[in-house]
Subunit: 149 residues, 2 copies
DNA sequence: GTATATGCAAAGGGTTTGCACGGTT
DNA sequence: AACCGTGCAAACCCTTTGCATATAC
C-alpha cells in the first residue's frame, strides 16, 4: 500500500515527486519551519531544489491537508505538519520569544465568535501578540527587541 | 494651550512638523488606513510628502501613543487613531471580508492567558482568521478569494 | 505522448535605509 | 548653531510569475 501522503496527493490530482516528499519530510522534521528553513533542510539531501519549488510545494501540501501554516512575527510564515498538536503562538512584542499553548485555551472565545457572529475561527493561523510575564515586570522604556529570533 | 498631540510629541522629545500633523489627521479621518492610503489622503493637502515619511511618522505616532496598528490580511497593516473603540478584526479566509467586533469579546480568553501563562495580550494587534457565516454554508471547493479587497 | 512540475531569473509588493538638504528648536 | 526630520533613490525581504525544460503519468 502506498504511503498516506502519496494517497492524499493523488486523490487531489497531484503527482508524486521527490521534491514533494522532501519538503513534507522537512516540515515534519523541523516541526516549525519557514520556507527558507525548509529549503535549507531539503538541500541537505538535494542541493538542486529551488526556493520557488518550496513555495509551490507548500501550497500544494496545504491544499491537500498535509501541512498548515501560521504567522508568527511580521516575517515569513511557519509551517507545521498536520499531525502536530494544534497550538496557538503567543509572541512577546518586547523580547520576541514565542510561547506555544494548546489551541483549546481559546475555546470559549471561538465558541462565542461562532455563537454571536457565526464566525468559524481558525485560531492557530495567526499569533497572539502581547507581553510575556518576564517583560511585563521590566521598566517601561527599556529597549525592546532583545532577541530577534 | 497647545493641542494634545503636540504635547504628546514634545513630551517624548519629538518635534512638531506639518507632516506629523497631516499624517495624524489622515489616520483620524480614515479610521482604517494602510500607509499607502494614508499617504494618498495626506497628498490631497501636501503633494510633496513621501511614503517613507509616512512610515517614519506612523512609527513616531505609535511610539507616543497617538495611533495603533493592526494586521488584517497578509498585506499592509492598518492604522487607527487611539481614540477609536478597540476592536478585533475577523477576516474571512474565503471572501476576504473583515468584520469588526468589540475587543472585550475576547475577555475570557485574554484573562486565561494572563492567569495560566502570565501573558498580557494585545488582542487587537492581529486579526482572527476563519470563515464567515456566509462562506461556511458554501460548497467546499468553490474558488476562494471572491473579493480581493 | 501529454500534462504537470521544476529551475531559473525577473518582477512584484511592502518596508527600511543612507545620504544630503531643509526646517525646528 | 545644532540637531532632527524629510525627500529621494536604492536596497531589502519575502513571495509570485513567465517561460523553457524535464518528469510523472
Amino acid at each position: 500500500m502506498a504511503e498516506a501522503w502519496e494517497q492524499r496527493l493523488r486523490e487531489h490530482g497531484f503527482r508524486i515527486t521527490p521534491q514533494r516528499q522532501l519538503v513534507l519530510e522537512a516540515v515534519e522534521y523541523l516541526r516549525h519551519g519557514t520556507p527558507e528553513e525548509i529549503l535549507a533542510e531539503v538541500q541537505r539531501t538535494a542541493t538542486g531544489v529551488n526556493l520557488s519549488t518550496v513555495y509551490r510545494t507548500l501550497e500544494v501540501l496545504e491544499d491537500v491537508g498535509l501541512v498548515t501554516h501560521a504567522h508568527i512575527g511580521h516575517g515569513a510564515p511557519t509551517y507545521h505538519a498536520v499531525d502536530e498538536e494544534l497550538h496557538i503562538h503567543l509572541v512577546c512584542d518586547r523580547c520576541r520569544k514565542v510561547l506555544s499553548v494548546p489551541a483549546d485555551t481559546a475555546l470559549t472565545f471561538t465558541t462565542s465568535l461562532a455563537k454571536d457572529f457565526g464566525f468559524a475561527t481558525d485560531i492557530a493561523h495567526v499569533s497572539v501578540h502581547g507581553l510575556c510575564s518576564n517583560c511585563q515586570s521590566l521598566p517601561r522604556d527599556v529597549p525592546a527587541e532583545i532577541d530577534h529570533h
